[in-house]
Amino acid sequence: MTRLERIGAAPRRIDGGALYDWDELVQEERAHRLIYTDPAIFTHEMTHVFGATWTYLAHESEIPNDNDFITRRMGLRPLIIVRDSNGQIRALYNRCTHRGTTLCRWDKGNAKSFQCPYHGWNFLNTGKLRGVPWPDGYACDFREAKYNIAQVPRVESYRGFIFGTLNPDALPLVEHLGPITKPIDEWLDRNPGGKVVVCEANRIKYKGNWKLAYDNSCDGYHVVYSHRSLLETENRFAGDNAKGMSYYRNSPDSLPMYMRYTGHGNHFKDKRPNVEKRSGGLWAMESAHPGMEHYEEKFKQRHGERAFDLLDLAGSEPVNINVFPNFSLLGNHIQVFEPISVGETNAIWYGTMIVDANGDIGEEAVNDINALRMRTQEGFPNFGEVDDVANFEQIQRGLDALEDEWVYMHRGLGIPDRIKTHEDGSITAPATDEAFMREHFKEWKRLMKARPNLAIQREP
């Protein structure tokens, strides 16, 4: 017999009617559709999340020299990330203090100053106003700080990763990252000298809320379904040597891989324990990539014993390291989520290459590793991510069904001994558990409820 389900009252609004009781909207095991679909909630996120907590902005290798700049966003704010003439990294608002024009329309470049294309106000790359055309038409002398470019007051790097926040009360970046720095260090340190250089990207746009990407970032439950076409393709010649993420196919929860939640919305999927720890272990899991047989032969001939250590540098590291709200290290990628509107997001997969930091690999071998590494990195966005993103778009569509209000994230919840809390406060659970999502939503709610004192800064 069918059962009618009464439609409940609409979620309670607070704060003068625009917003909601966040505890009602996000509960332990479920979240309300509105958090993905309501433009007012999105607007609130653009200050309370993108602004009040640390947001990833760029990698230092993208602005290696003094006066280099790139344009990026923090939430919806257009920014110029610049290494100024003194070598200091700044995140300037890409906005003229006169009447608001963006000052820079290029994605990247090198400039000591930015001149506004509208009336010609000219700013140093420290943000300081250098001069305006025909100043005698002004009664003021422009020495007041308010005419200098607004900038993100706190910009800090962790080993090359540049983050920014508008929140003067935020913890120092390294404390905010806390235990997630360990996998970040390991991810970096497998590369020579612990260094990577960003080298263009696979750039994907989807019509869906930005949180759909973050909810996916540590999700081990979707792999065999959402990525079925990838797994079948990667393994079409594999025989018994299963490639890529095939280990998810049979009872993934019984495997040694796990997820770990480390606080502040950050989490980590560690698939390394599934992979045999040996020289060539990562390389052996790679599916087919352009040039792989040629380069493998060449490395075996030229580098003997060391060949497979080198080839592993082109192989993809089996981890997902996620820093809330917009940063993920996975494989060899730095993935960044950029919210555009409540229903539109950019997901950018920056590629990384290695450098011969210790001078013990040699130029030709480094170039060969990088040539291979470009091709291994193009694999997942082309054969895997496109299917996830299609599913994100279809979630957004499904959530248009007004009366069916909840999405569930209770996998693993309430099963004895499944989820473990460790001494450092971190939480581990099996790889397909949704504990990561329940935990990052606690952080999301903490931020959405808070009343942060956001600030900008200008040169004096």
Binding site: D107, C199, E200, A201, N202, R203, I204, K205, Y206, K207, S226, R228, S229, L230, E232, T233, R236, F237, A288, H289, P290, G291, M292, E293, H294, Y295, E297, K298, N346, A347, I348, W349, Y350, G351, M353, E364, N367, D368, N370, A371, M374, R375, Q377, E378, N382, F383, V386, D387, V389, A390, N391, E393, Q394
Partner: protein
């Protein structure tokens, strides 16, 4: 016989080497030169028909017929920067050898490629076809502009740009050795980049 000569490029990839990359970059640099334009109408027509046929086969999802237009050791390259750059040091939107092209076809045919379920419907307009001579008699470079109307999900969108084909003439038969697809928005975020261009 070398390993390379024995190998089947559908199964293994021995031909994508540093030498190939260097040659590819050289072949796709400075080739659209006025002094190399082929003016012979019959010859230009032959290449225009090849490019138009390719477009039709892709619109009809006839992938086996499509890939048969390509040399066994081919390259399909969609750069992520407008100046194409060096694919050894830059991520491309796509950079495929034959095996990876066949991977794409295989993926689309699994029935589980959600980004193409249901499949996009496309109509390609090809225009401004120009043929250029190269240093090698049997090899021509072809520039064409394309405009792909793609209906997917619930809307029609446009993917546009220009393509460079490097084509080897073998008697009556033409083989595409390499195709470079230059989307005009190649360095921007692209929604559902999952069809052949």
């Amino acid at each position: 016989m070398s390993i390379q000569a024995q190998s089947d490029p559908s199964k293994s990839s021995y031909y994508v080497s540093d030498a190939l990359y260097r040659e590819l970059i050289a072949n796709f640099s400075d080739w659209q030169r006025d002094d190399r334009v082929v003016t012979d109408v019959a010859e230009r027509d032959r290449f225009r028909m090849l490019i138009e046929r390719e477009a039709r086969l892709l619109d009809q999802l006839r992938y086996e017929d499509w890939i048969a237009l390509y040399a066994p050791e081919c390259i399909y390259w969609v750069p992520s920067t407008p100046n194409a750059g060096d694919p050894r040091r830059e991520i491309a939107v796509m950079f495929d050898d034959r095996r990876r092209l066949e991977d794409r076809i295989y993926r689309l045919r699994t029935g589980f490629a959600w980004s193409q379920a249901p499949a996009s419907r496309t109509v390609r307009l090809i225009s401004n076809v120009e043929v250029f001579a190269t240093d090698r008699d049997a090899v021509r470079m072809v520039r064409s502009n394309f405009l792909i109307s793609e209906f997917w999900g619930d809307e029609t969108r446009i993917l546009t740009g220009w393509a460079g084909h490097r084509v080897m003439q073998n008697g009556d038969r033409c083989e595409i050795q390499a195709k470079q697809v230059n989307l005009i928005d190649c360095d921007q975020c692209i929604r559902n980049p999952s069809i052949f261009l």
